[in-house]
Each structure stands twice: as C-alpha cells, then as structure tokens.
Symmetry: C2
C-alpha cells in the first residue's frame, strides 16, 4: 500500500504508479478539485469517463458545511459524492488563511470565523486529522501554514518551523493506517529556507511530500527555481505534489522538474467564465469570432463537448447564460488537462519528453515561450543524481 | 409519415405511436423544453437515457439569439444542439405576448421590442413558418394568439378568428413536407368559443392539433372542462397536444381526457429552485429535514441522481449553490415525468388506467384529491363516441 513504482524516466520527469486503497493511479496526474463535495457541474460518471484518477476535497469547506459527521455517515467522500475512486483531502490550512475572517494563528492552531455564518471555529493539527479521517480520503495532508507572498523572510522561517511541529502532531494524531499522510515542505521562494524545511520534514518519512507555499502570487521566475530546488531534494521513490497548480504550462514545467501530482480549480473556474483550454492557448468564447465557428472547441479532443458541439453552439450557451455552457467547458478543460498529462506520460515513456514539451510550448505560447518555461525544461535534464533504487521492486 | 397509430385505449385515454422523420414516438409523452437550444443543464445523452422522445425549441428565443440562420447552418436543431431525435418548435406567438415589450398586434402579425436588446422585431405567420423551417423541427406550430386570462369574451372571439386566418397563412407559407404543422384551437375557457375555434380549425386537417390558451392562470376548475370539451371534439386519429402543461397531476388528468402530448418548463425550473417531484408530492430540498436523510430522492426512480445520491447530499448541493444540484434535480424531475407517462401508458394498455390514476392521486394529494381531478377521471370513461377506425391500419 502507498508504494510508488517508477515505470519510466526522462530527465527529471517520471511516470509512476501509486497504490491507494481505492485503486492505483498513474502519475503525473492532475486532480480535479471538488471543493464542496462536487467538482463544480461535473458528475462522477463524467469524471471517470474523462480519465480523472483522484479527486481533491477541501477540509475547510466540508467541515463547515455539511460537516464531516454527515460525510462520515455516508462512509466518507466516496459514499457522499458517489465518486468511487481515490480521494485526497487538503488540511484546511490554506483556506483558513484565504477565507477565514479574523483568523488568529498560535502554536496551538488557528482560530477563525466561518466565512459562511461568522461562527468561531478552531482548526488544529489534531482537528484537521480528525476531520480528514472522517472524510475518509486515501491521501490526507498535514496541517500547515502557507504564508502569503510577499511575506517577511523571518516570518516564513518561524512559520515553517511551526509547520514542522504541526506535522509531528499530525503524525501523532493519525489513527487510520489506510490513509497516507503527506507532509508539506514550505519556505517560500527562498532556497535556504526550503532547505531548512526539507531537513525538518524529510525525517518524518511520510508516504509522499507536497511542495507548499508556491503559486500564491510570486512570479514564475521565482516559483520554478524553488520547485526545481525542492523537487530534486525530495525522495526519488515517493510522490511529489505541487499544491494548487495549475495552468497547462505549469503542468508541463512541473512534470519536467519531477512533480507527480497537481490540483487546481483553474479548469473548472475558467470554464465557468467561458474559456476553453487548447494547445493553441485559451479560447475565449465570450468573444465574437467563435459565435460563427462551426468547428469543435479542440479538433484533437475526445470529450463529450468536442465530439458533439461547435464553438458557435457553446458560445451561444455562454452568451445565453445557459448552465450547459459552464458544464461543457468545465468538462472539456478537465479533459484537456488529463490529456495533457497523458501525452506527457507517453513522451516520458518514449524518451521524447523534452522534444514534446518544446513543440507543445511553441504552439501554446505562439512562439513566445517564456524564459522561466525554457529554464524548467533545461533543468529537467540536469541536476544532481538521485539515489539509484531498484525501481521494479 | 405523421401517421398516428392508436395501440390501446382505456376510457378516453389512449396509447399511440406517432411517426416523424427523426423517429417514432410513443404517446402519451412529455416533452422537455429546450428554450434556448438546450434543456437547461441536461445533455442530449442524458435526455436519451431518461426516456425523452421529443424536445421542444422556442422560436421566439432562437430567432432573437443566436438567430435561425446559425441554427440552419448546423443543419437545424439536431445539429445545433446534438440531440439526435425529433423536435417540436412553437410558433413564437405565446412568448411574443409574454416577453416582448411594446408589442402591437395587427392583422398582419405582431411587432415588438426584443427583451434582449430592445430592437424592433416583427413576427407574422409567414415569418414564424420561415423561422421554424430554418430551425428544422419535425413538428412545427401554427402562429397563433394566446389571450391572457382573464380576457374579454369579445376579445377572445376576435382573436380566435384572427388565429384561424393566421393558420391559413401558415398553411400557405409552409414549404417543407417533412415538417408536420399542428394547428392550435383557442377560445379560452368558453365552451362555445372553443366550439367556434374547432369549427374554424378542423377543416385545415393538419396532422395534429393543440389545445392552446389554457394553463395561463385560469383555475383548474375552468381549465379541465375546457380540455375535456376540446379534446373529445378533436379528431380521434390525430395527436392532441396540451401546450405548456404541466405538473404531474396535469399529465394524469390530461391523459385521462385524451391528451397525447405535453410540454412544460416546470420540471427543470422547480429543480433549479431545489424541488424534487415524487409520488408523495414535491420534496423541498431547501427545508431542513432532507439534509439528514440518507435515502434517495425517490426510492422508485431509476435516474442517475436516485441511483447515486442521498437526499442529504443533494440538499447540501442546493444549500451550497453547487451547479450539480439543479442539474441532478432537473434530471430527476424530467425522469419522474417520463416515468409517470410510461406508467400511465402501461395502465392504459392493461385497462387499469382509472384505478392506477386514483391510487396515484390518493398518495400524491395525500388523500385530499381535488374535485377538478376527480372530475377529469370521471369524464375519462364518458363522453360521446369517436368515429371507430381501423386502429391497426
């Protein structure tokens, strides 16, 4: 259980299988976000059809509404949401910071007022684990603090030290062996602080590690060096999860740097706003041109929307504010990201990842590939060597 | 083509097959409403799965946005919407009256300002037919005036006479033989005016007839006698369509009186408001009790929502304003109405329709079956006899 079996490598990028109680997933993978117990607008059957492997649930939202006890009464998130595969829950830490009002952070944990009804709530490492055990995901996350960007260097340091003490309390509080607890490495964009966080975190030897505190507003030119620095210092034989990321270009760059797992609300959120992800960049269905185009959103896509609808029809739905519009765009965008990681996996397996990623990026960025992206690809083939392990064991 | 083959009778109720270019439908049937080229929130695949047979499109909405030319460029509504089965379009008349601003009715037609952008638009019998030919439905409706309730008797009379002149112009304007034009009988709740409208309308011998001008605010005690009076005077061997109806009880009462076709936005609209249709009446998922119920919406339903979700989960989606909530409630409500007509057909075929309808109504109305409903059932077994025809020919 929770074994991570690497099947192919290309530079730092790798394809692996991760075994969870509710099934084996193949990485790199993108996880759709089901904040409130539903991936917005999409049914579990559709998630399975488009190749979703693991769904993320948000502890903060679910503990406030409907409450973890009701989810537990359904046998956890699979029974509650009817998605039969693996789940991951976050710890609630990030959203307490971004959504809770009047939050106060102490060594004990965080107290805040609910964004729903203003009631006072406390979230501690122990409470986060208890809620996540009730929610019953296959992977649960350590309760951490994710400092904003920018933040004082000293604050980030104090925070990452506390995050490690919280991690120790999470490990202590955890009671369900069928759940994998992932630790989270912090340290902002400062490599020395990342190193300190790694030194504090790695000894806990959790079944997976997350790169936290990134994609919170910092420029990509600072984010990706921190991803590269952290990812190559995480154990080779355990999954690496870049939290809250991302856009298509983030997935390709992250995979290049050895990241295995991603999640983001972006595909569904941008879909609700009328945008479709394609290899040519983001298509805006609010614009006038698509209203007359009788072609699919994306010629190469096999999703229900691309197999059945024209851009003109989908643009009509967006204009008319019809529910089927955001539903179909969300479905397409999720499928686009799933296909993107599938294509990346195929390229890794054939040893053509960098070439594939370069070709993809030339088209996606319309010839103007940003330096940070080029640098991520360049670093994919370099860096210090991981301990060699018997990867088939 | 457009043959209506009666397969079973029970009192005035009947089961029949109606042959259209895009397939044969079995009546009585309920038609989901796809106002703007989509049944709100529901995919064509789902419509097929829940037993939808024919979808209604609204001429008024579609001519204003996206415009009938774009729909025609997709090969009509099936190509535009990806629903591969039969369609019916209304004439636009009803919605000009209810949605158009500053509308002016003359012998020529109706001029109005679009509810979308205030632009001046004219709709005439000829234009309605031209738009409906571009939309390409299997059944198209004559352009009529539907007077409000209450309306002056004299106005209703002048209006029904003009509606017949408009019908003659529709018949004249029609060019596509693969579309069946249905005439609409008006006359409000006045039986003598209904008789006059019948006398004017029947000679046009269209492949089907609609009961118009009902369900516009009049009490059920006035509506159903008008339905009974009109339905029994329409040709036995042609489909009868009660427009804009209805609620579950309306379907059962209408079927009892010999109605074959129904349409209404009710199941999707009430679903978006958090209500589920069941044999026990309408379940309000905004209330507190369902939030703790781990049972399906409806034990006897086979829809996706009832097979996968608890009331507690669906109530959570409603409370959290998650798109999947209205989607699943709309799906269930449509399936409920499709199952209701399927059960009615089964009862007609076994000669047990009245007994079934009584049992259904006792439970649905919780013992307080309204007089108008009882009277509709009573009338089902009476009334003057239709011309006997060879029903298998």
């Amino acid at each position: 259980m929770f074994e991570f079996t690497i099947q192919a490598r290309d530079g730092r990028a790798r394809v692996a299988q991760f075994h969870t109680p509710r099934g084996t997933v193949t990485t790199p993978m993108f996880m759709p976000v089901g904040t409130q117990g539903t991936v917005k607008g999409i049914s579990p059957q559709e998630l399975l059809e488009i190749g979703s492997q693991m769904i993320l649930g948000n502890t903060y939202h679910l503990m406030l509404r409907p409450g973890e006890a009701l989810v537990a009464a359904h046998g956890g998130l699979p029974g509650f949401t009817a998605y039969p595969g693996p789940f991951l829950t976050d710890s609630g830490g990030f959203q307490v910071m971004s959504l809770g009002h009047l939050r106060k952070i102490t060594e004990e944990g965080v107290t805040f007022k609910s964004h729903l009804d203003g009631s006072a709530v406390a979230l501690t490492p122990e409470r986060s684990i208890a809620v996540q055990e009730a929610l019953g995901a296959d992977i649960i996350m350590a309760f951490d603090e994710c400092p904003p960007y920018p933040a004082e260097r000293e604050y980030i340091q104090r925070s990452l030290e506390r995050t490690e003490r919280w991690l120790a309390r999470c490990v202590q509080a955890k009671t369900r062996p069928e759940q994998a607890l992932f630790a989270i490495v912090q340290g902002g964009v400062h490599h020395d602080l990342r190193q300190q966080s790694l030194e504090l975190t790695l000894p806990h030897d959790t079944p997976g590690f997350a790169l936290g505190g990134l994609a919170v507003g910092e420029p990509k030119e600072e984010m990706y060096p921190a991803v590269a620095y952290t990812a190559e210092r995480l154990p080779d034989h355990k999954p690496r999860y870049l939290m809250g990321v991302g856009h298509p270009e983030d997935l390709v760059a992250g995979i290049a740097l050895g990241v295995d797992m991603f999640d983001c609300v972006y595909p569904t959120r941008t879909g609700r706003f009328g945008y479709a992800l394609t290899d040519d960049g983001r298509l805006n269905l609010n614009a006038s041109a698509p209203r007359r185009q009788l072609t699919p959103l994306d010629d190469e896509c096999d999703c229900y929307a691309c197999r059945h609808y024209t851009r003109a029809y989908l643009a009509h739905l967006v204009k008319a504010e019809e529910m089927l519009g955001p539903r179909m765009l969300s479905l397409h965008n999720l499928r686009y990201l799933h296909r993107l990681v599938e294509r990346a996996r195929g390229a890794i397996q054939t040893g053509t990842f960098i070439a594939w990623a370069q070709t993809w990026s030339e088209r996606y960025f319309k010839g103007a590939v940003p330096v940070w992206f080029q640098e991520a690809l360049r670093q994919s083939g370099t860096g210090f060597h991981q301990t060699t392990r018997d990867e088939k064991k």
